[in-house]
Protein backbone atom coordinates (compact mmCIF):
# COMPACT_ATOMS: atom_id res chain seq x y z
CA UNK A 1 0.00 0.00 0.00
CA UNK A 2 1.05 3.64 -0.35
CA UNK A 3 1.45 3.92 3.43
CA UNK A 4 3.85 0.96 3.66
CA UNK A 5 6.07 2.17 0.80
CA UNK A 6 6.28 5.70 2.18
CA UNK A 7 7.01 4.45 5.69
CA UNK A 8 9.98 2.48 4.45
CA UNK A 9 11.38 5.48 2.60
CA UNK A 10 11.24 7.84 5.57
CA UNK A 11 12.50 5.32 8.14
CA UNK A 12 15.52 4.80 5.92
CA UNK A 13 16.09 8.55 5.62
CA UNK A 14 15.78 9.21 9.34
CA UNK A 15 18.43 6.61 10.09
CA UNK A 16 20.88 8.31 7.72
CA UNK A 17 21.76 11.50 9.59
CA UNK A 18 23.16 14.05 7.09
CA UNK A 19 21.49 13.85 3.67
CA UNK A 20 22.99 14.48 0.29
CA UNK A 21 21.02 15.65 -2.71
CA UNK A 22 21.42 12.09 -4.01
CA UNK A 23 19.74 10.66 -0.89
CA UNK A 24 16.81 12.98 -1.40
CA UNK A 25 16.52 12.13 -5.08
CA UNK A 26 16.58 8.42 -4.27
CA UNK A 27 13.90 8.84 -1.63
CA UNK A 28 11.68 10.87 -3.95
CA UNK A 29 12.10 8.25 -6.67
CA UNK A 30 10.63 5.70 -4.26
CA UNK A 31 7.81 8.09 -3.33
CA UNK A 32 7.09 8.55 -7.05
CA UNK A 33 6.84 4.78 -7.62
CA UNK A 34 4.44 4.26 -4.71
CA UNK A 35 2.21 7.12 -5.85
CA UNK A 36 2.02 5.71 -9.38
CA UNK A 37 1.33 2.22 -8.05
CA UNK A 38 -1.54 3.69 -6.04
CA UNK A 39 -3.20 4.96 -9.25
CA UNK A 40 -2.34 8.62 -8.67
CA UNK A 41 -2.52 10.43 -12.02
CA UNK A 42 0.82 10.47 -13.86
CA UNK A 43 0.90 14.25 -14.42
CA UNK A 44 -0.13 14.93 -10.82
CA UNK A 45 2.76 12.76 -9.58
CA UNK A 46 5.22 14.53 -11.89
CA UNK A 47 4.36 18.03 -10.63
CA UNK A 48 4.09 16.84 -7.02
CA UNK A 49 7.58 15.29 -7.07
CA UNK A 50 9.02 18.42 -8.74
CA UNK A 51 7.56 20.76 -6.09
CA UNK A 52 8.55 18.45 -3.26
CA UNK A 53 12.11 18.11 -4.55
CA UNK A 54 12.45 21.89 -4.72
CA UNK A 55 11.15 22.26 -1.18
CA UNK A 56 13.56 19.56 0.04
CA UNK A 57 16.62 21.28 -1.41
CA UNK A 58 15.92 24.18 0.91
CA UNK A 59 18.50 25.10 3.57
CA UNK A 60 16.18 24.18 6.44
CA UNK A 61 16.20 20.58 5.23
CA UNK A 62 19.80 20.16 4.12
CA UNK A 63 21.17 22.17 7.05
CA UNK A 64 18.99 20.48 9.63
CA UNK A 65 20.28 18.23 12.41
CA UNK A 66 17.54 15.76 11.52
CA UNK A 67 17.19 16.12 7.75
CA UNK A 68 15.25 12.84 7.47
CA UNK A 69 12.52 14.28 9.70
CA UNK A 70 12.57 17.49 7.65
CA UNK A 71 12.04 15.61 4.39
CA UNK A 72 9.13 13.72 5.94
CA UNK A 73 7.68 17.04 7.07
CA UNK A 74 8.09 18.57 3.59
CA UNK A 75 6.36 15.63 1.91
CA UNK A 76 3.57 15.83 4.48
CA UNK A 77 3.10 19.58 3.84
CA UNK A 78 3.15 19.08 0.07
CA UNK A 79 0.54 16.32 0.35
CA UNK A 80 -1.71 18.58 2.44
CA UNK A 81 -1.40 21.31 -0.20
CA UNK A 82 -2.08 18.78 -2.95
CA UNK A 83 -5.27 17.81 -1.15
CA UNK A 84 -6.52 21.39 -1.03
CA UNK A 85 -4.82 22.84 2.03
CA UNK A 86 -5.52 22.26 5.72
CA UNK A 87 -8.99 21.88 7.14
CA UNK A 88 -12.01 19.92 6.02
CA UNK A 89 -14.36 21.42 3.46
CA UNK A 90 -17.81 20.17 4.34
CA UNK A 91 -21.10 21.56 3.12
CA UNK A 92 -21.59 25.08 4.45
CA UNK A 93 -25.22 26.18 4.52
CA UNK A 94 -24.58 29.82 3.59
CA UNK A 95 -28.16 30.64 2.61
CA UNK A 96 -31.63 29.10 2.68
CA UNK A 97 -32.76 27.08 0.86
CA UNK A 98 -29.43 25.39 0.21
CA UNK A 99 -29.46 22.80 -2.59
CA UNK A 100 -27.13 19.81 -2.80
CA UNK A 101 -27.06 17.23 -5.59
CA UNK A 102 -25.14 13.96 -5.79
CA UNK A 103 -24.09 12.55 -9.17
CA UNK A 104 -21.97 9.63 -10.28
CA UNK A 105 -21.55 6.28 -11.92
CA UNK A 106 -23.99 3.41 -11.44
CA UNK A 107 -23.54 1.72 -8.06
CA UNK A 108 -20.97 4.20 -6.68
CA UNK A 109 -22.95 4.80 -3.46
CA UNK A 110 -24.96 7.99 -4.13
CA UNK A 111 -28.25 7.03 -2.48
CA UNK A 112 -26.59 5.60 0.63
CA UNK A 113 -24.29 8.64 0.89
CA UNK A 114 -27.24 11.02 0.60
CA UNK A 115 -28.79 9.34 3.64
CA UNK A 116 -25.49 9.65 5.50
CA UNK A 117 -25.23 13.36 4.63
CA UNK A 118 -28.78 13.92 5.84
CA UNK A 119 -28.00 12.36 9.20
CA UNK A 120 -24.76 14.33 9.51
CA UNK A 121 -26.46 17.65 8.70
CA UNK A 122 -29.27 16.86 11.12
CA UNK A 123 -26.73 16.22 13.90
CA UNK A 124 -25.24 19.62 13.09
CA UNK A 125 -28.59 21.30 13.69
CA UNK A 126 -29.97 21.46 10.16
CA UNK A 127 -33.29 20.31 8.72
CA UNK A 128 -32.56 18.35 5.55
CA UNK A 129 -35.03 17.14 2.94
CA UNK A 130 -34.22 13.96 1.02
CA UNK A 131 -35.50 14.09 -2.56
CA UNK A 132 -35.81 10.82 -4.56
CA UNK A 133 -34.60 12.15 -7.90
CA UNK A 134 -33.78 8.73 -9.40
CA UNK A 135 -36.83 7.88 -11.50
CA UNK A 136 -35.07 5.02 -13.31
CA UNK A 137 -33.79 2.46 -10.84
CA UNK A 138 -36.31 -0.05 -9.43
CA UNK A 139 -37.11 0.79 -5.78
CA UNK A 140 -34.78 3.82 -5.64
CA UNK A 141 -37.69 5.67 -4.02
CA UNK A 142 -38.20 2.99 -1.35
CA UNK A 143 -34.45 2.82 -0.71
CA UNK A 144 -34.23 6.57 0.00
CA UNK A 145 -37.51 6.56 1.91
CA UNK A 146 -36.13 3.90 4.28
CA UNK A 147 -32.85 5.80 4.73
CA UNK A 148 -34.84 8.94 5.55
CA UNK A 149 -36.85 7.05 8.15
CA UNK A 150 -33.72 5.54 9.69
CA UNK A 151 -31.98 8.93 9.77
CA UNK A 152 -35.08 10.62 11.17
CA UNK A 153 -35.23 13.26 8.44
CA UNK A 154 -37.94 14.51 6.07
CA UNK A 155 -38.52 12.75 2.76
CA UNK A 156 -40.34 14.25 -0.23
CA UNK A 157 -42.66 11.33 -0.86
CA UNK A 158 -45.22 12.84 -3.22
CA UNK A 159 -45.53 10.66 -6.33
CA UNK A 160 -44.83 12.71 -9.45
CA UNK A 161 -44.51 11.98 -13.15
CA UNK A 162 -41.57 14.14 -14.13
CA UNK A 163 -38.33 15.40 -12.60
CA UNK A 164 -39.57 18.93 -13.14
CA UNK A 165 -42.66 18.28 -10.98
CA UNK A 166 -40.45 16.59 -8.40
CA UNK A 167 -38.04 19.51 -8.06
CA UNK A 168 -40.82 22.11 -7.94
CA UNK A 169 -42.83 20.04 -5.47
CA UNK A 170 -39.82 19.39 -3.25
CA UNK A 171 -38.96 23.09 -3.17
CA UNK A 172 -42.51 23.97 -2.15
CA UNK A 173 -42.49 21.23 0.50
CA UNK A 174 -39.14 22.44 1.90
CA UNK A 175 -40.42 26.01 2.22
CA UNK A 176 -43.71 24.90 3.81
CA UNK A 177 -41.85 22.81 6.37
CA UNK A 178 -39.02 25.35 6.85
CA UNK A 179 -36.36 22.83 5.85
CA UNK A 180 -33.06 24.58 5.17
CA UNK A 181 -31.18 22.10 2.99
CA UNK A 182 -32.40 20.05 0.04
CA UNK A 183 -30.54 16.83 -0.85
CA UNK A 184 -31.23 15.48 -4.33
CA UNK A 185 -30.53 11.87 -5.35
CA UNK A 186 -29.90 11.21 -9.03
CA UNK A 187 -29.81 8.13 -11.23
CA UNK A 188 -26.44 6.50 -11.85
CA UNK A 189 -25.07 7.22 -15.32
CA UNK A 190 -21.84 7.11 -17.32
CA UNK A 191 -20.39 9.42 -19.98
CA UNK A 192 -21.77 7.34 -22.87
CA UNK A 193 -25.36 7.49 -21.59
CA UNK A 194 -26.14 10.44 -23.92
CA UNK A 195 -29.79 10.73 -22.90
CA UNK A 196 -28.95 10.59 -19.21
CA UNK A 197 -26.21 13.20 -19.60
CA UNK A 198 -28.71 15.50 -21.36
CA UNK A 199 -31.15 14.88 -18.54
CA UNK A 200 -28.48 15.80 -16.00
CA UNK A 201 -27.79 19.06 -17.83
CA UNK A 202 -31.50 19.82 -17.60
CA UNK A 203 -31.69 18.95 -13.90
CA UNK A 204 -28.81 21.36 -13.18
CA UNK A 205 -30.72 24.14 -15.00
CA UNK A 206 -33.94 23.42 -13.10
CA UNK A 207 -32.55 22.67 -9.64
CA UNK A 208 -29.69 25.22 -9.62
CA UNK A 209 -27.63 23.30 -7.03
CA UNK A 210 -25.33 25.15 -4.63
CA UNK A 211 -23.22 22.03 -4.30
CA UNK A 212 -22.81 19.28 -6.88
CA UNK A 213 -20.75 16.45 -5.48
CA UNK A 214 -19.56 13.52 -7.55
CA UNK A 215 -19.73 10.23 -5.68
CA UNK A 216 -16.74 8.07 -6.63
CA UNK A 217 -16.10 4.44 -5.71
CA UNK A 218 -12.65 4.24 -4.10
CA UNK A 219 -11.93 0.95 -5.87
CA UNK A 220 -12.33 2.57 -9.26
CA UNK A 221 -8.70 3.42 -9.81
CA UNK A 222 -7.38 6.10 -12.13
CA UNK A 223 -10.45 6.13 -14.38
CA UNK A 224 -12.16 8.22 -11.68
CA UNK A 225 -10.44 11.36 -12.98
CA UNK A 226 -11.49 11.31 -16.68
CA UNK A 227 -14.95 10.27 -15.53
CA UNK A 228 -15.13 13.27 -13.18
CA UNK A 229 -14.00 15.56 -16.00
CA UNK A 230 -16.90 14.29 -18.17
CA UNK A 231 -19.41 14.89 -15.39
CA UNK A 232 -17.91 18.32 -14.67
CA UNK A 233 -18.73 19.46 -18.23
CA UNK A 234 -22.40 18.59 -17.78
CA UNK A 235 -22.87 19.35 -14.08
CA UNK A 236 -20.15 21.66 -12.73
CA UNK A 237 -18.71 19.92 -9.69
CA UNK A 238 -18.02 21.54 -6.34
CA UNK A 239 -16.31 18.51 -4.88
CA UNK A 240 -16.15 14.74 -4.50
CA UNK A 241 -17.18 12.09 -2.02
CA UNK A 242 -15.11 8.91 -2.10
CA UNK A 243 -17.16 5.92 -0.95
CA UNK A 244 -16.11 2.44 0.16
CA UNK A 245 -12.97 3.95 1.67
CA UNK A 246 -13.21 0.99 4.08
CA UNK A 247 -12.15 -1.28 1.20
CA UNK A 248 -8.45 -2.21 0.86
CA UNK A 249 -8.32 -0.41 -2.52
CA UNK A 250 -5.57 2.25 -2.76
CA UNK A 251 -7.89 5.12 -3.72
CA UNK A 252 -5.08 7.05 -5.42
CA UNK A 253 -7.62 9.15 -7.28
CA UNK A 254 -8.16 10.98 -3.96
CA UNK A 255 -4.72 12.57 -4.45
CA UNK A 256 -5.39 13.45 -8.10
CA UNK A 257 -8.88 14.87 -7.72
CA UNK A 258 -8.17 18.42 -6.48
CA UNK A 259 -5.37 18.90 -8.99
CA UNK A 260 -7.42 17.62 -11.95
CA UNK A 261 -10.86 19.07 -11.22
CA UNK A 262 -9.86 22.09 -9.15
CA UNK A 263 -12.29 21.25 -6.36
CA UNK A 264 -11.58 19.36 -3.13
CA UNK A 265 -12.55 15.94 -1.84
CA UNK A 266 -15.09 16.80 0.86
CA UNK A 267 -16.20 13.56 2.50
CA UNK A 268 -15.37 9.87 2.55
CA UNK A 269 -17.77 6.95 3.02
CA UNK A 270 -16.32 4.39 5.39
CA UNK A 271 -19.02 1.73 5.68
CA UNK A 272 -22.54 0.62 4.93
CA UNK A 273 -24.27 2.22 7.92
CA UNK A 274 -25.73 5.73 8.05
CA UNK A 275 -23.12 7.00 10.49
CA UNK A 276 -20.23 5.77 8.29
CA UNK A 277 -19.30 9.12 6.75
CA UNK A 278 -16.39 11.38 7.66
CA UNK A 279 -15.26 14.83 6.68
CA UNK A 280 -12.24 14.49 4.42
CA UNK A 281 -9.39 16.07 6.37
CA UNK A 282 -6.24 16.62 4.25
CA UNK A 283 -3.93 16.61 7.28
CA UNK A 284 -5.31 13.29 8.45
CA UNK A 285 -5.03 11.72 5.01
CA UNK A 286 -1.50 13.06 4.49
CA UNK A 287 -0.44 11.78 7.91
CA UNK A 288 -1.95 8.40 7.08
CA UNK A 289 0.17 8.29 3.92
CA UNK A 290 3.54 9.38 5.34
CA UNK A 291 3.06 7.14 8.33
Amino acid sequence: SVKKAFGGVFDGLRRKGLLSQGDIDAALAEVRVSLLAADVDYRVVKSFIARTREACLDERVLGSMTPGDQVTKVVYEQLVQELGGPGSKGIAITHIPYRVMLVGLQGSGKTTTLGKLALLLKKEGHYPLLIPGDLGRPAAYQQLQKLAADAGVEFFGEHVDTLEDLLRGADRFAREKSLDVQLLDTQGRHEFDAELMDQLRMVVTMYRPDDTLIVLDSMMGSKAIPLSQSFDKVAPLTGAIFTKFDSPAQGGAVLSFKDSIGKPVRYIGVGEHLQDIEYFVPERHAARIVG
Partner: protein, 275 residues
Protein backbone atom coordinates in the same frame (compact mmCIF):
# COMPACT_ATOMS: atom_id res chain seq x y z
CA UNK B 1 15.78 3.95 -43.35
CA UNK B 2 13.99 6.12 -40.75
CA UNK B 3 10.55 5.52 -42.30
CA UNK B 4 11.12 1.77 -42.11
CA UNK B 5 12.00 1.80 -38.40
CA UNK B 6 8.96 3.94 -37.59
CA UNK B 7 6.59 1.37 -39.02
CA UNK B 8 8.36 -1.67 -37.64
CA UNK B 9 9.62 -0.76 -34.14
CA UNK B 10 7.10 -1.86 -31.51
CA UNK B 11 6.56 0.83 -28.87
CA UNK B 12 6.54 -1.25 -25.68
CA UNK B 13 5.62 1.74 -23.51
CA UNK B 14 2.54 2.35 -25.63
CA UNK B 15 1.61 -1.34 -25.42
CA UNK B 16 2.05 -1.29 -21.64
CA UNK B 17 -0.20 1.77 -21.45
CA UNK B 18 -2.80 0.08 -23.69
CA UNK B 19 -2.99 -3.03 -21.52
CA UNK B 20 -3.01 -1.11 -18.23
CA UNK B 21 -5.62 1.27 -19.61
CA UNK B 22 -7.76 -1.77 -20.47
CA UNK B 23 -7.76 -2.60 -16.77
CA UNK B 24 -5.21 -5.41 -16.79
CA UNK B 25 -3.31 -5.31 -13.48
CA UNK B 26 0.35 -4.21 -13.50
CA UNK B 27 1.87 -7.63 -12.67
CA UNK B 28 -0.14 -9.43 -15.35
CA UNK B 29 0.68 -6.71 -17.90
CA UNK B 30 4.39 -7.00 -17.18
CA UNK B 31 4.17 -10.79 -17.32
CA UNK B 32 2.42 -10.73 -20.70
CA UNK B 33 4.83 -8.24 -22.24
CA UNK B 34 7.81 -10.22 -20.94
CA UNK B 35 6.53 -13.51 -22.32
CA UNK B 36 5.63 -11.91 -25.64
CA UNK B 37 8.98 -10.13 -25.79
CA UNK B 38 10.88 -13.38 -25.10
CA UNK B 39 9.77 -14.82 -28.40
CA UNK B 40 11.84 -12.03 -29.95
CA UNK B 41 14.49 -14.78 -30.29
CA UNK B 42 12.71 -15.72 -33.49
CA UNK B 43 13.73 -12.40 -35.08
CA UNK B 44 12.94 -8.72 -34.64
CA UNK B 45 9.15 -8.48 -34.50
CA UNK B 46 7.18 -5.57 -35.94
CA UNK B 47 4.53 -3.73 -33.98
CA UNK B 48 1.86 -5.74 -35.81
CA UNK B 49 3.59 -8.98 -34.86
CA UNK B 50 3.78 -8.00 -31.20
CA UNK B 51 0.06 -7.17 -31.17
CA UNK B 52 -0.65 -10.54 -32.79
CA UNK B 53 1.41 -12.26 -30.11
CA UNK B 54 -0.37 -10.31 -27.34
CA UNK B 55 -3.72 -11.24 -28.86
CA UNK B 56 -2.69 -14.90 -28.92
CA UNK B 57 -1.43 -14.69 -25.33
CA UNK B 58 -4.64 -13.07 -24.07
CA UNK B 59 -6.69 -15.59 -26.00
CA UNK B 60 -4.84 -18.50 -24.45
CA UNK B 61 -5.09 -17.08 -20.91
CA UNK B 62 -8.83 -16.57 -21.33
CA UNK B 63 -9.33 -20.02 -22.85
CA UNK B 64 -11.32 -21.49 -19.95
CA UNK B 65 -14.63 -23.33 -19.95
CA UNK B 66 -17.26 -20.58 -19.85
CA UNK B 67 -20.29 -22.87 -19.98
CA UNK B 68 -22.99 -21.85 -17.53
CA UNK B 69 -23.93 -24.98 -15.57
CA UNK B 70 -27.61 -25.36 -14.82
CA UNK B 71 -27.52 -28.81 -13.27
CA UNK B 72 -29.57 -30.04 -10.38
CA UNK B 73 -33.10 -30.49 -9.27
CA UNK B 74 -33.38 -27.62 -8.77
CA UNK B 75 -30.12 -26.10 -10.06
CA UNK B 76 -28.87 -23.62 -7.48
CA UNK B 77 -27.01 -20.52 -8.63
CA UNK B 78 -25.53 -18.21 -5.98
CA UNK B 79 -24.54 -14.65 -6.91
CA UNK B 80 -22.09 -12.68 -4.78
CA UNK B 81 -19.71 -9.73 -4.98
CA UNK B 82 -18.82 -6.35 -3.50
CA UNK B 83 -21.27 -3.51 -2.96
CA UNK B 84 -22.75 -1.93 -6.07
CA UNK B 85 -21.08 -4.32 -8.55
CA UNK B 86 -24.35 -5.26 -10.26
CA UNK B 87 -25.48 -8.47 -8.52
CA UNK B 88 -29.22 -7.75 -8.31
CA UNK B 89 -29.46 -6.51 -11.91
CA UNK B 90 -27.47 -9.53 -13.12
CA UNK B 91 -29.70 -11.95 -11.19
CA UNK B 92 -32.72 -10.46 -12.98
CA UNK B 93 -31.03 -10.60 -16.39
CA UNK B 94 -29.95 -14.21 -15.84
CA UNK B 95 -33.48 -15.14 -14.71
CA UNK B 96 -34.86 -13.60 -17.88
CA UNK B 97 -32.32 -15.48 -20.00
CA UNK B 98 -33.11 -18.85 -18.38
CA UNK B 99 -36.88 -18.25 -18.45
CA UNK B 100 -36.61 -17.80 -22.21
CA UNK B 101 -34.81 -21.14 -22.34
CA UNK B 102 -37.93 -22.62 -20.70
CA UNK B 103 -36.52 -23.10 -17.22
CA UNK B 104 -38.90 -22.48 -14.29
CA UNK B 105 -36.96 -19.97 -12.23
CA UNK B 106 -37.33 -18.91 -8.59
CA UNK B 107 -35.43 -15.89 -7.28
CA UNK B 108 -34.38 -15.65 -3.63
CA UNK B 109 -33.97 -12.15 -2.14
CA UNK B 110 -31.27 -12.95 0.40
CA UNK B 111 -30.02 -9.34 0.83
CA UNK B 112 -31.69 -8.70 4.16
CA UNK B 113 -29.52 -5.73 5.05
CA UNK B 114 -29.71 -2.95 2.49
CA UNK B 115 -32.60 -0.50 2.25
CA UNK B 116 -34.88 -1.33 -0.67
CA UNK B 117 -32.95 -4.45 -1.70
CA UNK B 118 -35.87 -6.87 -1.51
CA UNK B 119 -38.22 -4.34 -3.19
CA UNK B 120 -35.69 -3.88 -5.99
CA UNK B 121 -35.49 -7.62 -6.71
CA UNK B 122 -39.26 -8.05 -6.36
CA UNK B 123 -39.90 -5.36 -8.99
CA UNK B 124 -37.38 -6.96 -11.33
CA UNK B 125 -38.84 -10.44 -10.75
CA UNK B 126 -42.25 -9.06 -11.65
CA UNK B 127 -40.84 -7.56 -14.87
CA UNK B 128 -39.25 -10.87 -15.84
CA UNK B 129 -42.32 -12.83 -14.81
CA UNK B 130 -40.78 -15.16 -12.26
CA UNK B 131 -41.64 -15.76 -8.58
CA UNK B 132 -39.45 -14.36 -5.82
CA UNK B 133 -38.95 -15.51 -2.25
CA UNK B 134 -38.96 -12.31 -0.21
CA UNK B 135 -37.33 -11.80 3.18
CA UNK B 136 -37.73 -9.42 6.10
CA UNK B 137 -35.18 -6.88 7.23
CA UNK B 138 -32.51 -8.34 9.45
CA UNK B 139 -33.51 -11.94 8.74
CA UNK B 140 -30.57 -14.36 8.66
CA UNK B 141 -29.73 -14.78 4.95
CA UNK B 142 -29.13 -18.50 5.56
CA UNK B 143 -32.71 -18.92 6.74
CA UNK B 144 -34.03 -17.03 3.69
CA UNK B 145 -32.01 -19.34 1.45
CA UNK B 146 -33.24 -22.44 3.27
CA UNK B 147 -36.86 -21.31 2.90
CA UNK B 148 -36.24 -20.52 -0.76
CA UNK B 149 -34.89 -23.99 -1.46
CA UNK B 150 -37.86 -25.56 0.32
CA UNK B 151 -40.22 -23.52 -1.85
CA UNK B 152 -38.29 -24.43 -5.00
CA UNK B 153 -38.56 -28.13 -4.26
CA UNK B 154 -42.24 -27.90 -3.28
CA UNK B 155 -43.13 -25.90 -6.43
CA UNK B 156 -40.93 -28.11 -8.65
CA UNK B 157 -38.76 -25.23 -9.90
CA UNK B 158 -35.87 -25.99 -12.27
CA UNK B 159 -33.56 -23.18 -11.17
CA UNK B 160 -33.05 -21.13 -8.01
CA UNK B 161 -31.00 -17.93 -8.30
CA UNK B 162 -29.92 -16.38 -5.00
CA UNK B 163 -29.20 -12.64 -4.75
CA UNK B 164 -26.99 -11.75 -1.80
CA UNK B 165 -25.99 -8.53 -0.07
CA UNK B 166 -22.92 -6.65 -1.24
CA UNK B 167 -19.86 -7.34 0.86
CA UNK B 168 -16.30 -5.96 0.71
CA UNK B 169 -13.73 -8.75 0.69
CA UNK B 170 -12.02 -7.44 3.84
CA UNK B 171 -15.17 -7.73 5.97
CA UNK B 172 -14.44 -11.04 7.71
CA UNK B 173 -17.89 -11.35 9.32
CA UNK B 174 -19.61 -10.89 5.95
CA UNK B 175 -17.32 -13.43 4.27
CA UNK B 176 -18.16 -15.89 7.09
CA UNK B 177 -21.84 -15.17 6.48
CA UNK B 178 -21.32 -16.10 2.83
CA UNK B 179 -19.54 -19.32 3.81
CA UNK B 180 -22.46 -20.18 6.08
CA UNK B 181 -24.91 -19.66 3.20
CA UNK B 182 -22.99 -22.14 1.01
CA UNK B 183 -22.90 -24.67 3.88
CA UNK B 184 -26.67 -24.32 4.37
CA UNK B 185 -27.24 -25.03 0.67
CA UNK B 186 -24.80 -27.90 0.21
CA UNK B 187 -24.65 -29.55 3.64
CA UNK B 188 -27.77 -28.63 5.55
CA UNK B 189 -30.23 -28.67 2.64
CA UNK B 190 -28.14 -31.08 0.60
CA UNK B 191 -28.22 -29.52 -2.87
CA UNK B 192 -24.97 -29.02 -4.79
CA UNK B 193 -24.22 -25.51 -5.98
CA UNK B 194 -24.46 -25.50 -9.76
CA UNK B 195 -22.73 -22.10 -10.02
CA UNK B 196 -21.30 -19.63 -7.54
CA UNK B 197 -20.88 -16.46 -9.56
CA UNK B 198 -18.70 -13.53 -8.48
CA UNK B 199 -19.87 -10.23 -9.97
CA UNK B 200 -16.97 -8.00 -11.00
CA UNK B 201 -17.53 -4.39 -12.03
CA UNK B 202 -15.47 -3.58 -15.14
CA UNK B 203 -14.75 -0.10 -13.74
CA UNK B 204 -12.92 -1.50 -10.72
CA UNK B 205 -9.13 -1.17 -10.81
CA UNK B 206 -6.42 -3.38 -9.31
CA UNK B 207 -8.67 -4.27 -6.38
CA UNK B 208 -10.70 -6.65 -8.60
CA UNK B 209 -7.94 -9.25 -8.50
CA UNK B 210 -7.83 -9.04 -4.70
CA UNK B 211 -11.61 -9.44 -4.59
CA UNK B 212 -11.38 -12.60 -6.70
CA UNK B 213 -8.51 -13.97 -4.60
CA UNK B 214 -10.27 -13.39 -1.28
CA UNK B 215 -13.71 -14.61 -2.35
CA UNK B 216 -12.29 -17.74 -4.02
CA UNK B 217 -10.23 -18.53 -0.92
CA UNK B 218 -13.39 -18.38 1.20
CA UNK B 219 -15.77 -20.31 -1.08
CA UNK B 220 -15.54 -22.05 -4.44
CA UNK B 221 -16.12 -19.49 -7.20
CA UNK B 222 -17.18 -21.23 -10.41
CA UNK B 223 -17.40 -18.19 -12.62
CA UNK B 224 -17.51 -14.43 -13.05
CA UNK B 225 -20.20 -12.09 -14.25
CA UNK B 226 -18.47 -9.01 -15.68
CA UNK B 227 -20.69 -5.90 -15.54
CA UNK B 228 -20.76 -2.32 -16.90
CA UNK B 229 -18.59 -2.90 -19.98
CA UNK B 230 -20.79 -0.30 -21.71
CA UNK B 231 -19.34 2.42 -19.49
CA UNK B 232 -16.10 2.54 -21.42
CA UNK B 233 -14.20 0.33 -18.99
CA UNK B 234 -12.79 -2.74 -20.70
CA UNK B 235 -12.77 -5.14 -17.77
CA UNK B 236 -9.14 -6.21 -18.22
CA UNK B 237 -9.09 -7.30 -14.57
CA UNK B 238 -10.50 -10.64 -15.76
CA UNK B 239 -7.16 -11.42 -17.45
CA UNK B 240 -5.21 -11.48 -14.18
CA UNK B 241 -8.06 -13.40 -12.55
CA UNK B 242 -8.00 -16.02 -15.32
CA UNK B 243 -4.20 -16.23 -15.30
CA UNK B 244 -3.76 -16.58 -11.53
CA UNK B 245 -6.97 -18.24 -10.39
CA UNK B 246 -8.22 -19.95 -13.58
CA UNK B 247 -11.72 -18.60 -12.92
CA UNK B 248 -13.70 -18.22 -16.19
CA UNK B 249 -15.98 -15.34 -17.08
CA UNK B 250 -19.38 -16.85 -17.86
CA UNK B 251 -21.53 -13.77 -18.56
CA UNK B 252 -20.92 -10.18 -19.63
CA UNK B 253 -23.35 -7.32 -18.91
CA UNK B 254 -23.34 -4.21 -21.05
CA UNK B 255 -26.25 -2.06 -19.95
CA UNK B 256 -29.25 -1.57 -17.72
CA UNK B 257 -32.01 -3.36 -19.64
CA UNK B 258 -32.98 -7.00 -18.99
CA UNK B 259 -31.49 -7.94 -22.35
CA UNK B 260 -28.05 -6.42 -21.71
CA UNK B 261 -26.39 -9.72 -20.88
CA UNK B 262 -24.66 -12.27 -23.07
CA UNK B 263 -22.48 -15.36 -22.68
CA UNK B 264 -18.76 -14.70 -22.50
CA UNK B 265 -17.17 -14.51 -25.94
CA UNK B 266 -13.39 -14.74 -25.75
CA UNK B 267 -12.74 -13.01 -29.10
CA UNK B 268 -15.16 -10.16 -28.30
CA UNK B 269 -13.40 -9.45 -25.02
CA UNK B 270 -9.88 -9.68 -26.50
CA UNK B 271 -10.94 -7.26 -29.26
CA UNK B 272 -12.44 -4.92 -26.65
CA UNK B 273 -9.18 -4.95 -24.66
CA UNK B 274 -6.93 -4.37 -27.68
CA UNK B 275 -9.07 -1.70 -29.33
Amino acid sequence: QERRSRSTAPDLDALEELLIDAGIDVDTTMGILQEVGKSRLLGRPTAEQIITRIRAKLSSVLDLDSTLHVDGSPAVLLVTGVNGAGKTSSVAKLANMLKHQNYKVLLVAADTFRAGAVDQLAILANRVGVPVMRSVEGQDPSSVVFNGLQKAVADRMDVVIIDTAGRLENKKNLISELQKVTRVIEDKFGLPLSETLLVIDATTGENALMQARTFSEAIHISGIILTKVDSGAKGGSIVGIARELKIPVKLVCNGETLLSIKPFDKDDIVNMILL
